[in-house]
Amino acid sequence: MVQEKKIEEILPENTLKTRVPQTEVAREIKPAPSRFRNEIGKYIVHRSSECIRCGKCAEVCPYGVHVYKTGYKFFASPKNHLCIGSACEKTDHYCVVLCPKGALKLAENPMTEGLGDFRWTADMIMATWKMAQTGDIPPEEYGLQYQCGDSGGGFDRLRFKFPDKPPIELKEDQINTSIELNRRDDRRPKIKIDVPWYGGGMSFGSVSNVTQLSKASAAVAWNTFTCTGEGGYMERMRPFDDHVITQVATGLFGVREETIQRVPIIEFKYAQGAKPGLGGHLLGDKNTVSVARMREAVLGISLFSPFPFHSVYSIEDHMKHIDWIKHINKRALIATKVSTPTDVDMVAVGSYAAGTHIVHIDGGYGGTGAAPNIAKKNIAMPIEYAIDKVHGFLEAEGVRNQITLIASGGIRTAHDIAKAIALGADGVVVGTSELVALGCVRCTRCESGRGCPRGIATTDTVLSKKMDIEWGTQRLINLYNAWHKELVEILRRFGMSSIGQLRGRTDLLIHLDYSNDVEAKR
């Protein structure tokens, strides 16, 4: 990231004094199986009482669905999530046929109907779990349709138009997925991240500290960033300072000069895609003792981060804010997070004029810990339109190469990342997919009561113990690795040696609902 000697030159004295040694996390891919006993799979294998425990099924299955431990009287429950289902029928190891007693039956898992939604289909959730478990792209034989959701628009109707053969043959290690975050020539650090994404802002309060720290560790391993959100800066986060973005939003919860001085990037959050124009909410139930202490607030009351910044009613006011941060932290890059109103292009160029390094647009279908349903569904445009609009306008204004355009709000897979970049973004911010990797099922119950029953988006002392940092970190490192592999594969098929070459290449996309003859007409 930034060399230590440089830090000494640029860090303020008080930060240098309080700086703690930075953690190193190896980018090592290790299996991280589900923390739940019965992982959900696409298929279910039933074993009837006809089974004579001959062990044939365990012997033939290459996926390890059947487990018969020596010394035990019965088979363990089948590991259904490892079964490839009907695709196995054509092989010579189809247990249902090979079982001498016909004791095995295969069926589609009816529970998948209750898993996921239009945007995050059951297949996409299960594939994300698989990636987080193995660090690899889910093998084709599992038949998981995970590259697109079922929303019927936007990314889900876009496809890449791959050439039959790459124009240039490249090896994987010749392909670079890193992006620069500072494109201004302003003598601030030229921060580069190894992958074209970083973790979205999730405050302590909206998620547990285990979730936050797992995200931070994975960001270190992949030389990228995570964001504190607006809920204070945990002391335990300090060993990750160099990979943390801290957020300044209207509630200013836990924001101090000292926290601003810790990090290389500060993000102004003007709006959030899930609840544009409404500010932040943390419902009272989740304002526990530790959260209240961190946010310097009263225990148990709902906390609002009221929209908007009372001190910002113009681009000049925004510039004043940016100047203030730049003055406090001389090495910091500034990110400005906005939603996607109809004039999002003007907002972006205004933000550039005010001196921001990163303009982060968060689309209308973005994630949240709590938002009014009416806002999530109806306010502001989906990110797919906004990326193209902002990218085009910044180009027309001649400033596109002086600003980093980051998109978020509905980025679920490596394919979404690639499509967002092809539409014109430099990189993306991800959030929900990280939570899915940690075991989220999108039951949408993160907001109240004890919070997430899966122990991810909760500050309940019992629930948050359902997960540990080491496991969480590994799941995210694995997910990032699978995404990285997939992105490299996409670039390899296009014969591109760097992710930057994909930016704005809408000519490489087709839309399933359109005639796709624009190029031909030209």
Binding site: R37, M111, G277, F307, P308, K377, I379, K389, C446, E447
Partner: protein, 469 residues
Amino acid sequence: MPEKYHIKTKPIPPRRPRVGKYGVVDWREDCARCHNCVKKACVYDRYRNENDYIQNLSDVDALYFDCMGCFSCVQDCTKGLLCLSINPVYEGMGNSYWTPDIIKTTWLQAETAKIPVSGAGYGGPFTGTGFDAMWTDMSEIVRPTRDGIHGREYISTSVDIGRKPSFLIFDEGKAVGDFPPLLSLPMPLIIDMSPAQYSLPDLGPVIRETAVRTDLIAIINPNDLSFQNSDLQQQLPHVAFYIGSDNSLPSKELLRKTKLVEITDDCKVPERIKKLKSMHPDIVVSVRVELNAQGPERAIELADLEEVEVIHIAADPNGNEVGVNKPRFVKDIIREIHTALIEEGIRDDITLIAGGGIALPEHMAKAIICGADLVTIDLPLLIALECHLCDRCVPGMPCPAKLENIDTDYGAGRMTNLIAAWHDQLIEVMGAMGMREVRRLRGDVGRAMFFEDLEEETFGRLFGTRKKD
């Protein structure tokens, strides 16, 4: 500070078991009887509640489905004996327009009077038909007031019904001339009569009480017998009699206590308006135009008549044109009529009320953006009473919501809660837009983004012609 419009609410729990989306099927055979059974660990205490429900069951007519679908018990059960399932009763509710999700969210609002809030991003389709094919705008920095969230109290949701003079003449500092009657409502909502197929239970008293509690107006049939025994002094200012072509006019005494009356559209519209005005000069008369094939054209034609001041266009319950092969949706018709009235230079002379298909609070805001002054609702209030929209409102068929036994406090309380929640959500949407007044939202399509426009601007430019559906 001037007095603000505030609807008093209190939580009113459902009378019937909740019909949730998920249930858990429990294959009890082979249970290991673990000491730390996952059922005890349910964050929502679902299993304990189910036991209580079964123990206190008076008659077996509804199963217990109140699982939140978190899969925790399913995935942690030692023997894998639990299976999550989707409740067929839930899936069977409503129809393709009035979806189970709409019914469920309406129930929740009627119970709590709160804005439904949830975690995680929106999980629905990218876009849809009708009102789902548009998004409302937001403003990054422009707010209704400089007070941020607290400025919401200053957002006005009041609307006027009736004709407003297009200019004023002053003589010695005093406005002179004729001032037509003008009725102001604190929010852009009128309670309409239920469609015929849902009119079995007599909800008249409940609906009128709701209109009183919310300070709104309910359109009612003057022949409603229950009306004779109620508190007329209190209720009459909150009702608008609906007078069909064949109906006789209500008595002058009754009419003079109301502020709005609605007549059906027929060839005698000008005469009937004149007659009503002669009986009660301060009354505002609305003409109800059914949105059949000729409906939109007829509405525009009526607007040209000097006597007509308010037009209420009524689509079918799903928001479609009535009796048309390929019906258009009410949103598009509102835009068409609104635009035609602007082109004729008479938009401000007419109040346009739109009804049919208004199922969610965003529909109210979106209909206004498209050009309506206010909207009417009917079915949402019925759903507030735990109605499943099962379409079996015929004598002898059991009503799953037991609507035949509704007491006024429960009924009016639930309806009031729903309207309060809608009001709050209208303010949320307007707050995000930076709008301070709902009157100014009318026809302001710049405050919305339409799917067809965004698609054409973005993907049409990049990918050519959109294929026809």
